[in-house]
Symmetry: C2
Subunit: 176 residues, 2 copies
DNA sequence: GGGCGCATGTAATGAGTTACATGATTGA
DNA sequence: TCAATCATGTAACTCATTACATGCGCCC
């Protein structure tokens, strides 16, 4: 939850916004690197308000539904810096669900294993292309940095996957 | 939840076990690559039993609490293979909470940013050593594979972090 | 007239964590 | 006698997701 609050506070620090606006922004610009459902965003905004990190005032264009415009407070700014430093300093423990399968790879026949990992590799390459395209028209230098890291990690994973598949194939050939 | 079920089914495929035993094994041997709380494991075992993927029979050594020993069923084996192939083939979408901070890096002064990322680098190096030591006395070739992947990814992240810090420092010097 | 866009949510569900409860035995 | 080990869980809680509800205006 911490990083979601960080994200929302960061967006509000940039400019006061209402929930719908924030959700639109996230969906359009951060869909790749963050997934945060709309209902969740609304809920977190309420929590931030309750905690005093943001204030809200209503706004209404005529003939439009009323909006709750949130603005960051002094306490919110402090919390933002606190969360930001923590987020940057701490090593996030990345859960890699894909590792569990690897643990049991030996329960598959070599060619089944190769087939599965090859599919994984294809998916990875597809995703890589998405991110490569994303860098081209990113607006924000910070977002670029985040995507750059992702690209780096994904390319490294691709490399590892290729090597692992090659090793498996070699073992497979050997057996024949 | 899928990968947790996969893990438990995999361990039970290897040998019938009771919950406590499984929890011990996970804590001792997989603590690094998986975190699964004991209460959660017990709960998942019940769910697997309800679903018919495992059977259970009671066992009791005298003077010891009774144990619920779980054994995998034919349906459980099928489910195991199904989950395994899915887990290996699909590209897991890794949530990288650390990316959110990167998005807002420009809200910190260059030297603050460098300080945070340097701390992160130190934490990363510490973790790397833990994994490097873990490979040495791993029992299982599958676990080795999973740790090998992690090492690969973490080293790549380290490299990226170093480069990023260097770039930031350069920009910092430039300004003086 | 029907569907989309705007703007907000609530309710139900599920998954996981934390903290706690139990109760016997074993070892320092 | 005090803590740890064995072995199981339950209850309360948090967090997020899904699906649904509302209601007006605009455009085809």
């Amino acid at each position: 939850m911490d990083e979601r609050a960080l994200l929302l506070l960061g967006l509000l620090k940039n400019q006061s916004q209402h929930g719908y606006q924030i959700n639109e922004f996230i969906e359009r610009n951060l869909g790749n690197i963050m997934d945060l459902k709309k209902a969740t965003a609304y809920a977190i905004l309420s929590r931030l308000h309750e905690a005093g990190y943001v204030t809200l005032h209503m706004e209404q264009d005529e003939n439009r539904p009323p909006r709750k415009v949130y603005s960051i407070t002094k306490e919110g700014e402090a919390q933002f810096y606190h969360l930001l430093q923590a987020n940057l300093s701490q090593l996030e423990q990345v859960a890699l669900p894909g590792d569990i399968g690897l643990m049991f790879l030996n329960y598959l026949s070599p060619d089944e294993a190769v087939r599965c990992l090859t599919t994984r590799l294809e998916n990875l390459e597809e995703q890589l292309q998405v991110y490569e395209r994303a860098t081209e028209h990113a607006n924000n230098p910070g977002v670029d940095l985040a995507i750059d890291r992702r690209l780096h990690l994904m390319r490294s994973d691709r490399e590892w996957l290729r090597e692992t598949i090659a090793t498996l194939k070699a073992r497979f050939e050997e057996k024949k």
